[in-house]
Symmetry: C2
Subunit: 374 residues, 2 copies
């Protein structure tokens, strides 16, 4: 007979459940995968969930549990257990398996008697770690993802472009995302030299889900690399993602190295100009705005025959001239990814890629392709 019995403070259990529940798919067709597996072992409580794309295990060590009396495991409907724990008062909660697969969740005045599922039906998640993980600071890891993920493709026509490309060589970690109209590239150095070069593509939405679990602290994220999967470890959480198969396009020759025009602008000013000019644009026309540089003025403009016209101007001293059109949405995404006071727009001509960078931080480069207008 399956058993399990322990007590735990509401806040502790809820935090672990919330993290684990990220791997429950709402549209999962395999009933057991709508559940969360509870497993109480000698060293503490393990919670598991998986939608086959992502698997998560979180752990509450024994010293954080109020008491334990019977080791064991059960699977319980994920949607319900999270809501129930969330709405219970902030006190000790007693969790107990009785009569085979019933889970009793109780406090002094409340008793939930929930139908569970045999834990043996839950898939065996292979969450083994490698011996030589790559370690990245939590804050840097969040930057890596947040500064690139928006540039992944949202369309499944080229599945590989919905992922983020991780390239490791020596002590260099290069991260790339592109939807073929724009590109984001981030470089960081890792603490040690790795032996074999790595070139993998991780689904962007999985990485975005992972970053939501990262607190604002100085903990590290460990990356454990396998040929067909990647396992991240952060504090008491293990996050497993499948990889996308295929060869990521080579992009190193796409980013120009020299530019005719390098235009340094205040972040706020440039962002607001483009943001306002985009008000009269539409998705249908790729939210196109035009940048016009003359000797003493930068102008961002757009024109919609039905609605009207907008011109945004900034005084600037430059000896160059250019007329170039681009997607305001892509440009705003690119500018936003720099948490800096200034950004530099780098251009050659109206058909060559626009590169956005910051003079004090060379780790991040954004690229946006111009749009041909008549």
């Amino acid at each position: 007979m399956i058993k399990m019995k322990f007590k735990v403070k509401k806040e502790i259990l809820l935090e672990s459940l919330n993290n684990t529940a990220r791997a429950i798919s709402t549209k999962n067709l395999i009933p057991i995968l709508t559940g969360i597996k509870f497993e109480l072992k000698e060293d503490g409580l393990y919670l598991y969930a998986s939608d086959t794309d992502v698997s998560i295990r979180s752990f509450i060590s024994k010293d954080k549990l109020t008491s334990t009396s019977e080791l064991g495991s059960i699977v319980i409907g994920g949607k319900y257990i999270v809501e129930i724990i969330r709405k219970l008062p902030n006190t000790d909660i007693s969790i107990e398996v009785i009569d085979g697969y019933k889970l009793i969740v109780s406090t002094d005045n409340t008793e939930f008697n929930l139908n569970g599922i045999n834990p043996n039906e839950f898939p065996n998640l292979d969450l083994d770690e490698t011996k030589e993980p790559i370690v990245v600071n939590n804050g840097i890891f969040k930057d890596i993802i947040n500064q690139t993920v928006f540039a992944t493709s949202q369309s499944e026509t080229r599945p590989l472009l919905t992922g983020i490309n991780f390239k490791l060589s020596g002590n260099s970690f290069e991260v790339l995302a592109t939807d073929s109209y724009r590109l984001a590239r981030k470089y960081v150095e890792i603490d040690k030299d790795i032996e074999n070069e790595v070139n993998i593509v991780v689904p962007g939405k999985n990485l975005l889900e992972l970053t939501k679990m990262l607190d604002d602290d100085t903990a590290s994220v460990e990356m454990h690399l396998f040929s067909n999967k990647i396992l991240f470890k952060y504090k008491n959480i293990v996050f497993l993602s499948r990889l996308l198969s295929g060869t990521y396009p080579t992009t190193s020759n796409i980013i120009p190295k020299d530019f005719n025009i390098e235009l340094e602008c205040k972040f706020d000013d440039l962002f607001n100009m483009i943001d306002r000019a985009s008000l009269l644009t539409s998705d249908r026309e790729k939210n196109t705005v035009k940048l016009t540089l003359t000797k003493d003025e930068l102008m961002i403009s757009s024109n919609s025959p039905e609605i009207g016209r907008v011109e945004e101007k900034m005084n600037i001293s430059s000896d160059k001239e250019i007329n170039i059109s681009f997607s305001s949405k892509f440009m705003l995404d690119a500018i936003k990814s720099f948490n800096k006071e200034k950004v530099v727009l780098c251009m050659n001509n109206d058909s060559s890629p626009i590169v956005i960078k910051n003079n004090e931080d060379s780790s991040l480069v954004q690229l946006v392709l111009p749009i041909k207008t008549c």
Copy 2:
């Protein structure tokens, strides 16, 4: 040639535009009604919008405008003008009509040139006031609506029940809402005796929209009553709503006056018990929970064969017993409408309406019908 020219601070114009824009319907099939009419007169700027169901006029008096130079009017696409003003910097904005129906919106570095529409095409909104409005304090007016509107019907099968019934007689103002499964009744006294009795039904969604425009201040709401419409006046805003036609059902004999059981409970405890018990219920089964009262205990329970069972208990001393089922959703709505520490559940038997009230405030009564279970 139509003209108009003035300057106004961004925050002042934006507040008025936001209020006026509430009357723009997004699915309006009459193009002119997707616009906001600007009318600059001697005394200030009037803004108008109407979706034929609701019409709003807001007003910025001349002393709040930075400068005015040409009186006139124009109609401009509501969706665009609100977004444009919202995204402009917090400074003086110049607004000018040129070349017939072009509207120029500009600041130092920005110029929007928008296509306007001839203001003569905008319908003439009859916003005349009566001489004898009924005046209600703003805070009380918000209570009146917020404590009743949730009980209106969301279904158009009985259109009259989507409205709130206003009944005025002498100095009494009675407000009723019901979807035929529950009922909310609020009483307030008005400052003067009105001559003729009033019995009208105002669309609930319009009243909800109106309350969103009311600040947390001590201003008054004036109600101007007409046979086929009601006009509300609040500070510089005039809000006109059509009425629903038909005779609202008589409900005075539905609310029991005497009860076998009156159960006073702490608001928080009762709310949380029912809220948790509702977790295992479904819309399909009307979110039914059961209340069981015995000598020393109040229990709220629910049972879903697939998911499980929940029992919530509270110690209580009572010499009565009852077993009664009701919609947890309706009961939570009813309890929530009291901003009080305690509420009283009043019951007679398992098929008689449940009345919820508060012993210190007799102005509000909520009623929920029980649900027959097997």
